[in-house]
Subunit: 436 residues, 2 copies
């Protein structure tokens, strides 16, 4: 059972909007065990829409279109699909009523053009739209189904979930289930070599997806039930974890920050951040996670040395002798914010994000990350990105490395190779001024 | 001259990721005056990739592929396209060197699989990738061009802008030029009504693109030269600015933070942030902008009241009487961080991002934003999102509103309706401890 997603809209071809509908539908269809082998985008043009539709029908059992159901003149999906199937457009009275009620309810004036939205191919299955004015519909012919959905994601989404899923259930002979594993620190090419044999497997399949210095590994199997599919995935998932070692950081989790917050919640510990080149991004990422207020109270963005000294108790001598971008400063930032914030763990990040500020000795991409728990302080020197590399990339990888080192310290894993252990540095003013 | 975008990647068909590359390329091609009539997505499957490529070549002059150039086994774009054109893959020594240098520089171990990335179709035009390891390339045959680009947007974007644009310029008979205007604060539907007549225009065209509480307005015209095209756009651009009023914040700029940094650089002033619910996101957004170190020295993330009091001098009585999420606390946070950081402007943000923590009196989405320059302090009460709305959305809009209020204060524009002016509050410990 193959499905195909056909988006209709010149705004997509012009790059005015991103085709998020395709992802939403692909995801939903995969969950139903329906394969998607093609996604296509065409403009509001009858000839090209007809060609695209005929091609889709020639290779797929189900075609889902998005867009072109609106009231305006360039919304031609309904008419064109009816034409391809040789059907008349007939007014659906129930849809007409829904549209009238919608305008009444939202207190907006209904234009005559909106009546056009109630004109549907004869003998179609109507998909009532309670989230907008354009009803969806299904046309079945010669064992194929064409499902028309409106373009606005806030209408398309609920229509798919609440109207199309029940309709498609009857086509779904199996369920596809996946286990997602994430790792940080092993480059994609090395992951490939580590897991090469497993990636050749048919059931389950193992596919890597690299993004921003991380690799997500998706183990997928198809079976009669979700439980069976997951049971097929499990042994491979465990083998992948074993091979990734401490770089593996979570199953079915979304991010390093999610894992760090969970670990802190379990241990009832608190963390604090002192950030220079990342400028608050790391605290910002941690606080994306709801519940982070239990484990995070204080972050300090110390862009200026003055602030590193005054707010983080970094010694002036350290800044003079070693500079703001140094192992020593990173360590004092980590310990300084830990003490100041009365947290269990402190993280310090200082580096050169670029594009300016680099020297031969300290190039753009040089970043020091330190984590401290008051007993041990671990510092890592990183050289991130490359010549053409973007500021945003250096910053993001810096904060990812900081979150990964924090994760390792919190759950008691060894730090990455090349990390140096030092005693927590003596601070300029070791007394916390909280409460006194 | 027609181009077609062909994305290769099973992760797109599974809905793991959104095809943002297609929008980026469509947008860039439109600017070059090259029409895009089709976008297609296929998986990492040789047979279907060959079919898709042949179809694309049958109807388009230029085919741009994204993805499938990585080191892993399921990256098959290079091999498959070489096959379709009957060419051998030959090792490009320069690309090999670039890849080796990349690994040497980042101190990572290079696997044999990375050498695969330097294997390119014979007689192709190599597009050197300074942003990653996979070079792009162009294969020209029978008057058609196939341009292969890597999938990661961070590499694909600069490769297109810096390598492909110059290559494509020779195909372009006319130039499309655009003026992009951005506004914050007027909802999309209102913008539609304000600019309805202008949006009906043919040359220039005016298209709105709404995202995360902002609307970008793109005015586009086609002409023989860029100058002519821009001259056609200019009158409409000026009319749009007039109608948007103070909500308009920049021409051909990327973000509110960019405009704030520029305004501060011009005035040689400094800003500081005190963030609660946004958790450092606002400082993180400001420091995305290179050069921000000139205007930003200190940000404090005060998730706990303890920290608001101790680091920002927010009075304990204020926290007791009005709570952490209140006009009074926001004002004291803004003034507190301004004084502590010895900055010209201070920004305070406190609110309830959710999903938890809401009450009938103080629901999720209630946020107070304050900006102070030491003479005037402006506080705004916001009720962001709605019942179903997400933590990330509330946080992002909170920081956007803070940046917009800062922009208005810095360049001397009135604050949005509903903003309250108060005298800068007296702080618990008004002495700055910097330097003394």
């Amino acid at each position: 059972m193959n499905a195909e997603i056909l988006a209709v809209g010149t705004e997509l071809l012009l790059g005015n909007i991103v085709n998020t509908n395709a992802q939403y539908l692909a995801n939903g269809l995969a969950q139903l065990g329906i394969n998607v082998l093609h996604q296509t985008v065409v403009g509001d043009n009858e000839a090209r829409l007809i060609d695209a539709l005929r091609l889709a029908l020639s290779r797929s059992d189900i075609v889902i279109t998005t867009g072109g159901l609106g009231p305006t003149g360039d919304d031609i999906t309904r008419e064109t699909i009816a034409k391809v199937f040789g059907r008349q457009l007939v007014r659906d009275e129930h849809s007409m009523k829904v549209i009238r009620d919608y305008f009444a309810r939202t207190g907006r004036k209904m234009g005559p053009s909106n009546e056009k939205q109630a004109m549907l191919p004869e003998e179609c299955i109507v998909l009532q739209n309670d989230w907008g004015t354009a009803p969806g519909c299904v046309v079945e012919q010669d064992g194929k189904s064409v499902i028309m959905l409106p373009g606005p994601p806030r209408e398309m989404g609920p229509l798919f979930d609440q109207r199309v899923r029940p309709y498609l259930a009857k086509f779904s002979d199996a369920v596809i289930a996946s286990i997602n594993l994430r790792e940080f620190g092993i480059p994609e090419s090395t992951v490939q070599e580590l897991l090469d044999d497993l990636m050749k497997g048919e059931s389950p399949t193992l596919s890597p997806y690299a993004k921003e210095g991380e690799v997500q590994l998706r183990i997928t199997a198809k079976a009669a039930t979700e439980e069976e599919a997951l049971a097929i995935c499990r042994p491979v998932a465990e083998e992948v974890k074993k091979r990734l070692g401490t770089a593996y950081y979570g199953e079915n989790v979304d991010s390093l920050q999610e894992v760090v917050v969970k670990a802190l919640l379990e241990k009832k510990k608190k963390i604090a951040f002192a950030e220079s080149c990342t400028g608050g991004m790391t605290a910002g990422r941690l606080t994306e996670i709801s519940g982070s207020s239990e484990v995070f109270e204080c972050g300090i963005v110390s862009y200026a040395n003055r602030v590193k000294h005054a707010l983080l108790d970094v010694r002036e001598k350290t800044l003079q002798d070693h500079g703001a971008v140094s192992e020593e400063t990173a360590a004092e930032m980590a310990e300084g914010v830990r003490v100041r914030a009365q947290a269990d763990y402190g993280v310090g990040i200082t580096g050169i994000a670029g594009p300016g500020g680099g020297t031969a000795e300290k190039p753009v991409g040089l970043v020091y990350v330190a984590v401290s728990d008051g007993k041990d302080c671990y510092v890592r020197r990183l050289l991130l990105g490359h010549s053409g590399s973007e500021r945003a990339h250096v910053r993001y990888l810096s904060s990812s490395n900081a979150l990964d080192m924090a994760r390792r310290l919190i759950i008691g894993l060894p730090q990455p190779d090349g990390t140096v252990r030092v005693d927590p540095p003596k601070l300029q003013a070791p007394t916390s001024f909280f409460g006194n």
